[in-house]
């Protein structure tokens, strides 16, 4: 008996899983970026207290650990999405939404200056990722 490789779901479930992948990825990126910003320049820390000091500085940050947890959640929700949604839709859609979501979240939570140049970059990269999947 040949088993189907994908169980096709409706559009609401499809986009809900894709948005979950993107949202957890954005949370992971913003939390790790916020944590490294608080910790400070890792090049300087490594120069002064070695690689072990840099690793200790990073892993002792709860914000960083939550970021890694979010990244792991994103990875497993991507695996779940790929078991239900076609790769040619799931991968580029989640990657593109992640790029745009990161631009919004960086402006909102990290107070980054997301100027016109950076918005254009996010949009160009989104479009580029979509075309790569064709």
């Amino acid at each position: 008996m040949i088993l189907p490789t994908h169980i096709y779901v409706g559009p609401i479930e499809t986009w809900a899983t894709i948005i979950t992948v993107a949202a957890t990825a954005v949370a992971g990126d913003v939390l790790t970026a916020g944590a490294t910003r608080r910790i400070g320049d890792l090049d300087l820390i490594r120069a002064k207290s070695g690689m072990s000091g840099a690793i200790r500085a990073v892993t002792s940050s709860p914000m960083f650990l939550f970021g890694v947890l979010s990244m792991a959640a994103s990875f497993f929700s991507l695996l779940f999405t790929l078991s239900n949604v076609e790769l040619s839709l799931a991968a580029p859609a989640s990657a593109s939404l992640t790029f745009l979501g990161n631009a919004f979240a960086a402006k909102l939570f990290l107070k980054e200056n997301v100027n016109r140049r950076r918005w254009l970059a996010a949009l160009f990269v989104c479009a580029g990722v979509f075309l790569l999947s064709k």
């Binding site: 320049d41 890792l42 300087l44 950076r118 996010a122 160009f124």
Partner: protein, 152 residues
Amino acid sequence: MKHTLTPQRYLILLAVMLTASVGDTLLSHGMTQIGPVSLAHLVLLLAALRNPWVITGILCLLGFFASYLTALSWADLTFVLPSTAFGYVVVAFLAKYWQHETITVYRWLGILLIVCGVGFVANGPSLTLHESQHPAEESTSAAESTIQGVTR
């Protein structure tokens, strides 16, 4: 806002791009040697950990995470992320010249758009400054307070 990147920091961004794309390609090459892994035969994933291509791929991805975190400690997320997207371009070239895959016109167009996107941010400032703080002072003071915490 102004440029804060030294040549060494551009090298770290290059490492972010290359380690991610080369790592993914090595994993892909290794997993094609292992063959398809079904839910009923998950033990095959352990066998994959003995494949030299997979091992090298994992080492590359560990290098990616280290250099990605380093880059985030002195540059904005919205500066680093489009740079990492350049890895898609590297993967496309590796797929064409190493795996001998065909690159369609759509993909070349996608590559062009990503290159343009990366160019937009690469020419701009790398870090947002808050409350007229100097970038060197900001990163140095934060790093020194962390070092004190670590060495304590």
